[in-house]
């Protein structure tokens, strides 16, 4: 608690459930004293991104439109964590409705990078990354629609893991883009992450898109390992946007992996340039519909001004409630779904997504792992990119791929840039191959430690 107070200026938390966490900790101690069985997460302190519902607690998705809203139920993932005796310590700051890559779009203000407070935390799960980076909780939950867990993990020098689509129930996760969203985990070591995924994953009658596949005991199988067949895309390492220091570090890492007996091969992937456009068309389309429910009628905030008709009520409530980036994406999404533009944008983007999925399947016929950079560059300074939305979008190039393909992906710390900031590397496996991804990461990732 003292540490959370000490690092309050980083603005990682929106709400700290201090009293409640202490009460729960006391209850858990009691339970242990009585010799009652303890859960797998006994006393583990978990922070949750402000997009994951926790019954009777405030949740706002970092948006003014939900200020003061209290959830009536808990997300399935939260229920499962609580069932294993975890302690939920608070709500973590994020970009509004998980839209952004720098955590500069929150109604609660920016989250500062603990290593350099003039730099961004990354986004959208910036608060979740910084909370783990600064040791304010042991693990945290974020959500990853296009890199929102892996990119801030990279910027903050921690591990960020996104399971494959459908592994963890989305029930209780505020939707940005339903067919991309997935709850992800921040941590400082693979064991913690494996244990959390193991607990949260699995079928859920409240989410028809949650996979019915059985969940392996990830945490116990981490050491059962093998030599991996690793693919990388030369185009990605030669990409003009990639910082040369990062490119170099990745090449060195691949060489090291080869030396350790893994197979490393270049694979041609021509669809790289289509990834970002397809991603932004599909996610904004879904978002424009997912965010229609925030209309000031049933809950959340509504305009306080007098209105003459229903249209004006909607326009004012939504214009005042949503921030700039959210409005931009709602308008973009509405546009790509409109009659006359639908086929040129939405339908084409769906086709691109299908091709990406097919090509990815093909690669995984021959390889276990795909390696990509996580981000083109390390954490930037506040305001440096926020003027140029397109540049910001393009920086998502390497992370959105896994969401389009629906596959698991991880970013683990790799090295430190000459500017002093850490950066990571990204690894991916085929759908439902979380186990080999965690095993591989456990081999190659060297625990970063927090501040």
């Amino acid at each position: 608690m003292a540490r959370i107070e000490e690092y309050r200026h980083l603005n990682a938390f929106i709400d700290v459930f201090a009293d409640e966490a202490l009460t729960r900790a006391a209850e858990l101690d009691n339970k242990k004293k009585k010799g009652l069985p303890c859960g797998k997460l006994f006393g583990v302190v978990v922070g949750i991104k402000d997009v994951i519902c926790y019954k009777d607690h405030h949740i706002s998705a970092g948006s003014a439109i939900l200020k003061g809203f209290t959830s009536l139920y808990s997300a399935t993932a939260i229920e499962r964590l609580l069932g294993e005796d975890a302690i939920i310590i608070g709500n973590l700051n994020c970009d509004e409705f998980a839209m952004g890559s720098s955590n500069e779009n929150s109604a609660y203000g920016n989250v500062l990078n603990a290593l350099d407070p003039t730099r961004v935390s990354g986004g959208s799960s910036g608060g979740s990354a910084v909370a783990v980076q600064a040791g304010l909780c042991m693990v945290s939950l974020g959500s990853d629609t296009g890199g929102s867990v892996r990119q801030p993990a990279d910027f903050c020098g921690v591990i960020g893991f996104k399971p494959g689509y459908g592994r963890i129930s989305r029930y209780g996760l505020i939707a940005y883009a339903s067919s991309f969203d997935q709850i992800g985990i921040f941590g400082t070591n693979i064991e913690d992450i494996a244990l959390l995924v193991e607990i949260m994953a699995g079928p859920d009658e409240y989410d028809s898109t949650a996979a019915r596949k059985p969940v392996p005991a990830f945490s116990q199988l981490l050491k059962d390992t093998k030599k991996f067949k690793i693919a990388y895309f030369p185009q990605s390492l030669a990409h003009p946007s990639l910082d040369p220091e990062i490119g170099m570090a990745i090449r060195d890492h691949l060489k090291m992996l080869e030396k350790e007996g893994h197979t490393v091969e270049p694979v041609d992937f021509e669809l790289l340039d289509y990834i970002v456009p397809a991603y932004y068309i599909l996610t904004t389309a879904e978002a424009s519909s997912n965010l229609a429910r925030y209309d000031g009628v049933k809950y959340g905030t509504r305009t306080k001004e007098l209105v003459n008709n229903l249209d004006e009520f909607y326009r004012k409530s939504r214009s005042q409630g949503f921030g700039k980036e959210v409005k931009r994406r709602i308008m973009l999404g509405t546009f790509v779904l409109s009659t006359g533009y639908y086929d040129a944008y939405y339908t084409r983007a769906q086709q691109v997504r299908r091709r990406i999925k097919e090509q990815t399947d093909l690669i995984f016929k021959h390889f276990d792992i795909i390696i990509l950079p996580t981000t083109p560059a390390p954490a930037f300074r506040f305001g440096e990119k926020s003027h140029d939305a397109v540049e910001m979008f393009l920086a998502d190039l390497f992370t959105v791929f896994a969401n389009l393909a629906g596959i698991p992906a991880i970013s683990y710390p790799l090295s430190k840039h000459s500017n002093g900031m850490p950066f990571g590397i990204q690894a991916m496996t085929n759908q439902f191959e979380e186990l080999s991804l965690l095993q591989f990461s456990n081999l190659s990732c060297h625990p970063s430690g927090t501040l």
């Binding site: 009536l72 029930y171 339903s178 879904e286």
Partner: protein, 484 residues
């Protein structure tokens, strides 16, 4: 009307919404019963709270497939939902989850009878969707009240091709659909409560023209009468426009039941762009042919099949067969009554005669009939044995059987002292008494006015209080009257 429409052809297509009879909503566990206090059948899912997701109700899918089978549709094995996006306060999520673009049932037809002719009305599709809540604007004050109980209730929408030409055909179609949804238990068919609602697409063209005229859509017709009146009004209005060389606007109209007219609510120019796209929160779902076959096997016999069975197998007149096969509760009851017996006609006569009159008199319907169906063949046996006349049974015994929920007609008839006196000498006495009382009539009969026999029969029946067996009475009367 006929004169007015000559030279023009009215073309009608219908969209019928039926609320499915499921215990819970299409995508969550909230209840669906009508008339619960406002905003009590709701949960975070119904209200579209942040983070909630829909859950498929398999019972609703079952109803939709069954309705498709009954209407001879092709059933899609692979299905998914789409979102229809629009803003309205009673639509909690800002979109309606619907199968509008990929219906579960395609093609098919429904047979109707109108103006004495049978017609097959082709269907375009039957699809599933969720209902919206209700807005109430007229509760006093400058406010709109919202009730979300209905939001998320599963619906099927049955859409016809533009193949009907008269209000009569359209009403016959809606009547038939109401019968079918009730028959298979998919919907209670209650139009007043809005469980069954209808929109009509109406256009008019010159006779012989191949191209359809510009259509208007009349929304939310909540009775068969209103459907008929709306079509009559619109047909006349559209023909009038064409006659005066006017141009029909493509528009959506509403029906005013106070004066049976329609009025425009929006034109095509300000039509919404619903931006349909596949619902990403619900996994596509598919089912096997075996599953469909299973549902088919579980369907109740349909009116048409029953009519066939009643006329061909049971030897009932078409009229009786028609009535018995028109109402599921009645036909179920009838089937139970005749099970294991051959008294088809006898039981039909009782049910469609005295039992039906009793129901009419007490303003009840067949579902409220409590008495054991097995009582009717017993009563038929009793009448056939000659111990009890049909008319006495009908007037006296049947109402008591029903009201006392009595299982044994013999016992009850005995208790009511209804048995016809089989003693021929009693009848002999009554016959003589009657004939002695009216010598003029007797001589008229003897002179050839044979029609008076009925009158004598009636007199005997009267003084015997119905206990005289009609056959014996008849024989004895003729015997006496034919004596020289």
């Amino acid at each position: 009307m006929l004169e007015q429409t000559s030279g023009y052809e009215v073309v009608i297509g219908l969209e019928v919404h039926a609320q499915l009879q499921t215990r819970s909503k299409l995508f969550c566990g909230d209840g669906t019963s009508y008339g619960t206090p406002p905003n009590t059948a709701i949960s975070p899912i119904t209200l579209g709270h942040p983070g909630t997701l829909p859950r498929m109700n398999s019972k609703a899918v079952e109803h939709a497939i069954r309705m498709g089978l009954v209407c001879h549709c092709d059933i899609s094995h692979y299905n998914y939902f789409a979102r229809k996006n629009y803003f309205y306060p009673d639509l909690p999520k800002g979109y309606q989850v619907s199968q509008h673009t990929t219906p579960i049932c395609n093609n098919g037809f429904v047979k109707i009878k109108a103006a004495g002719k049978e017609k097959k009305v082709s269907l375009t599709r039957i699809h599933m969707e969720e209902d919206a809540g209700k807005s109430m604007h007229d509760e006093g004050g400058d406010v709109t009240l919202l009730d979300y109980n209905r939001a998320g209730t599963p619906l099927i929408e049955i859409v016809t091709e533009p193949v009907m030409n008269t209000a009569e055909e359209a009403s016959a179609f809606l009547t038939e659909i109401r019968k079918l949804v009730r028959w298979i238990g998919a919907c209670d068919g209650n139009m007043e409560e809005g469980s069954l609602r209808c929109d009509a697409n109406i256009s008019v063209r010159k006779k012989g023209e191949a191209k359809l005229g510009t259509k208007v859509e009349v929304k939310n017709l909540n009775s068969i009468r209103n459907l008929r009146k709306a079509i009559e009004f619109e047909s006349a209005r559209l023909i009038d426009i064409l006659k005066n060389d006017g141009k029909v606007d493509q528009e959506t109209r509403s029906f005013n039941a106070d004066d049976d007219t329609t009025f425009s609510i929006r034109t095509k120019e300000d039509a919404d762009d619903y931006r349909y796209f596949p619902e990403p929160d619900l996994s596509p779902f598919s089912f096997t042919q075996e599953y469909i076959n299973e549902l088919r096997a579980g369907l109740p016999a349909l009116p048409e099949e029953l009519f066939q069975k009643y006329t061909a197998e049971y030897g009932l007149p078409e009229y009786d067969a028609g009535i018995l096969s028109d109402d599921k509760t009645l036909s179920d009851y009838f089937e139970k009554a005749v099970r294991g017996t051959k008294y088809y006609k006898g039981v039909a006569n009782l049910l469609l005669g005295p039992v039906k009159s009793w129901l009419n008199d007490s303003t009840k319907d067949w579902s409220e009939l409590q008495v054991d169906p097995a009582v009717w063949p017993k009563l038929v046996e009793l009448i056939d044995s000659g111990k009890l006349s049909f008319s006495l049974a009908a007037q006296k015994l049947v109402p008591q059987l029903i009201e006392q929920n009595h299982a044994d007609p013999v016992q009850l008839a005995k208790a009511m002292n209804l048995f016809q006196d089989a003693n021929a000498s009693d009848i002999q006495n009554w016959v003589e008494e009657v004939l002695n009382r009216m010598p003029e009539k007797v001589s008229e009969f003897k002179k050839g006015k044979k029609g008076l026999l009925g009158m004598f029969m009636g007199e005997v029946k009267k003084i015997s209080k119905g206990k005289a067996d009609p056959k014996i009475t008849n024989d004895l009367l003729l015997e006496k009257l034919n004596q020289p």
